[in-house]
């Protein structure tokens, strides 16, 4: 079902009892107000995926909701990727030129978009400095989807001075927050059960997609779905698979897509392909960002879903796999730990060896 054809009423089939009626009532309080989301990409990655579903639903609930995306050149996105990595704890080098360019691009986007609303929600660090051009009316809230628990000090100091100008900040986990003299709130991200990536599929649909992807279904499938990013530890997954493979005839599928704001993806993908070597049971799939149905089919055909991240914002692929009833082996980091009920819906692990052990006995 395409996003544009969905209404809030369609969610009655999957929502808990009374939840849709409750949402309709709740929305009456905000009806007619203007709500603006701003982020850095319309496709690829968890934020774009959430917004592509959330914005139409909010509109359906009677809230005047808009979604704007900032524009930038490759230098800007290289800088914001470095900033993203630094804020998640990896040492990065920033020159004055890089920092100034970040501010210039934010300023240019603020002039182009003229962001305004009763509530403006700015997602993640890329557009955070647009706050400098805020109009006097409306509340501005910074929505941080990433793990800020141990940031590189200089990177956080640079960003923090902009964050301080917001009315409030929202984080995905308490551990991700920083000391800030403004109200901070906790909101867990979520998946859309009616999205192409999560909707029910017939066995025939799944088989057809696997055949198109040229993945045989004659062996148990271990699957990790994530963009090709070092924090997702795809090489660690290959190493764990190789340990499991000694005793179990399994197949590994690493399925990822690029995001428009992630220039490092191609390099990591090349490293993953090299690590996979010529093993005929390892499939590295570089899928387009709109391959939602393929991801759905892969998750439904997997025996075990892996999300062996070493750093993770929240890890919505865990929720996606659990929605499909799959056991999940996840890295003990970020939101993965609050999603997996240890020993019930899967296991969290801290090493390649731990992942291999849990896969083998799962």
């Amino acid at each position: 079902m395409a996003a544009s054809t969905l209404t809030i009423e369609d969610y009655r089939e999957v929502a808990p009892k009374g939840a849709v009626d409750f949402l309709l009532r709740l929305a009456e309080r905000a009806r007619g107000r203007r709500f603006l989301h701003v982020n850095s990409t319309r496709v690829g990655g968890g934020v774009a995926e959430i917004l592509s579903r959330l914005v139409p639903i909010m509109g359906d609930l009677g809230i005047k909701t808009a979604w704007e995306v900032i524009e930038g050149d490759p230098e800007f996105f290289a800088m914001t990727k470095a900033l993203h990595n630094a804020l998640q704890g990896t040492e990065q080098a920033f020159t004055e030129t890089m920092l100034n360019h970040y501010l210039e691009v934010n300023q240019a986007n603020a002039q182009r978009l003229r962001p305004a609303g009763d509530l403006v929600l700015i997602h993640d660090p890329q557009p955070a400095a647009m706050i400098e051009a805020r109009p006097p009316e409306g509340k501005w809230v910074w929505r941080c989807h990433i793990d800020l628990s141990t940031p590189q000090r200089r990177a956080w100091a640079f960003l923090r001075r902009h964050v301080l100008r917001y009315n409030a900040a929202v984080f995905s986990l308490p551990a991700f927050a920083q000391q800030l003299p403004l109200p901070q709130f906790l909101v867990y991200p979520s998946i859309d059960p009616l999205a192409e990536k999560n909707r029910r599929m017939t066995k025939g649909e799944i088989a057809k997609i696997l055949a198109n992807l040229q993945i045989p279904d004659d062996k148990p499938i271990l699957l990790q779905v994530s963009r090709f990013d070092r924090f997702k530890d795809p090489i660690g997954v290959i190493n764990a698979y190789q340990m499991v493979k000694r005793d179990h005839d399994v197949r590994l599928v690493l399925a990822g897509g690029g995001a428009a704001d992630d220039p490092e993806g191609a390099q990591v993908l090349a490293e993953v392909r090299e690590a996979a070597g010529r093993d005929p049971d390892v499939y590295v799939l570089d899928l387009p960002s709109n391959a939602h149905l393929q991801i759905n089919a892969l998750q439904r055909s997997a025996t075990i879903v892996i999300q062996k991240s070493t750093r993770e914002g929240f890890g919505l692929t865990v929720a996606e796999a659990m929605w499909k009833g799959k056991p999940v082996i996840g890295g003990a980091t970020g939101g993965i730990t609050v999603q997996i009920l240890y020993g019930v819906t899967g296991y969290t692990v801290n090493s390649v060896e731990g992942a291999a052990y849990r896969i083998a006995i799962c």
Binding site: K17, L26, Q179, F185
Partner: protein, 244 residues
């Protein structure tokens, strides 16, 4: 209009007025959402946990004890409050975890007295321990404050049958709001459901049975199921034919 009709009209009006006055006030179902505020307070050992608990706003005591039920509609087997879970799973102090787990937050008349009890348990426990147990590999405890916002659901009931119908279809947060939140923050020790059924309908024993439902046996959905069973029994199977 003849003479008789003129005499009867005021009497008829009075009768209707008295009949309406005699009817119990409707039960208006409210749901709720929880706004979770991060307080920036954290603890890495059991002494810090105690000290931060002493100075945290009462909304944090509420968040980490009562509103667990709002976040997990079904109890999944873990300890029923965040303090016990953290001590057991992150500090790996099973003894204190068990001692904190058995504290029933609904048995206290105020959040302040609940806080005193929790602090007293931790204080007594660490008094004999050197060093104080702390997190080595796990995560710190992060204090979060709860702000519960009530939202009318649009559902209301005048009879027990209507009440049963509404209860069967209402959002689970409404069960939390009327069965649990009302005990703690609105001074209704038996909960709104039990009060209304007992007082408005004179079904005191049914109200008592509803008040005694233990939320720890299965969370909000279990409260709903048990209440529906009690109501069905009270209604003699009438509701079962028309509803869930």
């Amino acid at each position: 209009m003849d003479h008789d009709e003129q005499d009867e009209q005021p009497l008829h009006g009075l009768y209707n007025t008295l009949r309406v006055m005699a009817q119990p006030a409707p039960f208006v179902f409210f749901g709720c959402i929880e706004l979770r505020e991060l307080l920036g307070l954290r603890a890495r050992d059991e002494r810090e946990l105690m000290e931060q608990l002493e100075r945290a706003p009462l909304g944090a005591v509420y968040y980490h004890t009562h509103s667990v039920f709002l976040r997990h509609y079904q109890v999944t087997g873990a300890y029923p409050n965040d303090f016990a879970n953290w001590v057991a799973s992150q500090v790996r102090d099973q003894v204190l975890g068990e001692r904190l787990a058995v504290v029933d937050p609904f048995a206290f008349g105020s959040l302040e007295s609940l806080r005193d009890e929790l602090v007293s348990i931790i204080d007594h426990h660490i008094a004999t321990l050197h060093p104080v147990p702390r997190v080595v590999f796990g995560d710190p405890f992060f204090f979060v404050q709860s702000h519960v916002i009530e939202v009318p659901t649009g559902l209301e009931a005048r009879t027990l049958g209507e009440f049963r119908q509404c209860l069967a279809e209402v959002d689970a947060s409404s069960i939390y709001f009327h069965a649990l939140e009302s005990k703690v923050r609105r001074g209704h020790p038996r909960g709104d459901f039990a009060d209304w059924i007992g007082q408005a309908h004179g079904r005191e024993s049914l109200g008592e049975e509803i008040a005694r439902i233990n939320p720890y046996l299965g969370g909000l959905e279990e409260i709903r199921v048990r209440m529906l069973r009690l109501l069905d029994a009270a209604l003699g199977g009438e509701a079962r034919r028309g509803g869930r």
